[in-house]
Symmetry: C2
Subunit: 274 residues, 2 copies
Amino acid sequence: MSLSSQSIPSVFSPEDSRSALQVRHQIRQGVWHSHTSGLASDHVQGNVVILPEALANDFLRFCQRNPKPCPLLAVSEPGQALLPDLGADIDIRTDLPRYRVWRDGAVVDEPTDISALWQGDLVTFVLGCSFSFEQALLEAGLPLRHIEQGKNVAMYRTSIPTRAAGVFNGPMVVSMRPMKAAAVIRAIQVTSRFPNVHGAPVHLGNPALIGIAHLDRPDYGDAVEVLDDEIPVFWACGVTPQAALAQARPAFCITHAPGAMLITDLLNQQLASF
Amino acid sequence: MSLSSQSIPSVFSPEDSRSALQVRHQIRQGVWHSHTSGLASDHVQGNVVILPEALANDFLRFCQRNPKPCPLLAVSEPGQALLPDLGADIDIRTDLPRYRVWRDGAVVDEPTDISALWQGDLVTFVLGCSFSFEQALLEAGLPLRHIEQGKNVAMYRTSIPTRAAGVFNGPMVVSMRPMKAAAVIRAIQVTSRFPNVHGAPVHLGNPALIGIAHLDRPDYGDAVEVLDDEIPVFWACGVTPQAALAQARPAFCITHAPGAMLITDLLNQQLASF
């Protein structure tokens, strides 16, 4: 496996990336330990999964078979801690605000630095994140209730299966955003332009058709009201790979802590497909 | 006003247009008097409105203010009966299977040739038609129930107002196609590529939100069942200008008869915006 960021232009302006670099350095220095929503908001943020090489091939195939919940932005060489294709001076061991350390499928620690845990066989996966398409929706003038209300987005385990690969398996997790019909149509147009960050929705309307019994009881995140003249719209969610990890129970792995993403130098607009 | 077909490439292959030309000649010779659905199906078909010059400026502004129901493909000079920008040897007086002649807002005749009615002040408007986007939906593997059942599409007057221009005014008319959620998402992507033939839907879900009380009682066309796991999807419809004409009650005008469209040499794929 080589570091790859297929279909992402590798040229970006130092001016545009400067704030992303500054934020990463502040995170590395321990100034910021929390979620990254709204930080360097023109820039692509990524879900991070770090696995021993022995499991990496299975996980890579899992991502490539399930591109909507697991859109791959980059995969490192084993032991490679720097990710120059994603940004200047990115060190995956120090540049996330908070990590989760998993042993046998359970979270055992949430450190702000994983240098002491680093091994020569660790492979890093960076997956696109909904922050990118949410910025595009906001710029298109579409309101997002969970952001207006300062909540986390509502997420649900569904009856939509993922395509298994090796030990990785499990249900697709989706995020839900309520919208009026005209906004639904526009949101499908806007997010279709961003296949690398979950792309178009996977469902809209009746939640029971994808195995969601209670919209007011999300499995992750916060409940958000759906008004009478609104339609719930469901996007594939980056929590899907974490659910697959929890089910596979690898002896050891590391992920970002929820909401505490890797901030890259890539611009969201660089991911637009047309 | 000059004959215009903005944003439509003017180059098309004689091979591709040949069948359209042959069909038009058969229509001109009186071989075919009926609807044009499925004829020369790779080619753009158009709604036709022919008005005296005194009303043409109002109608042109009405179309430009309401591009979703009234997507203008071409506007002739006064008295110009040939439309070379839309196809070889098109004579608007003879090349439609059937016309409607309106006097004071009422249909008074449905001839197959309007040569005897032609006047030097008549301006022809050709508007995009849903046949083009329906072909794209079928090619994308999306089933269309009204076509499967050999019915006309269901159409409804809505509470969505058009933007008035001069004497032209009235409600937007929409066509409805029922689909499962995944097909709705794909259909929005597919039809967004074709703004010249009504483009993306204007509404989906609850019909009451756009003033439709009974889905099973369309105002035009045939009723089509909506199953429990389906969502009704509504597109702006080319019947809208005919409804505005009926309301404006011009002393004299001519339109195509419903379903009996002008077959052009343009290919549907030439209208795709990306």
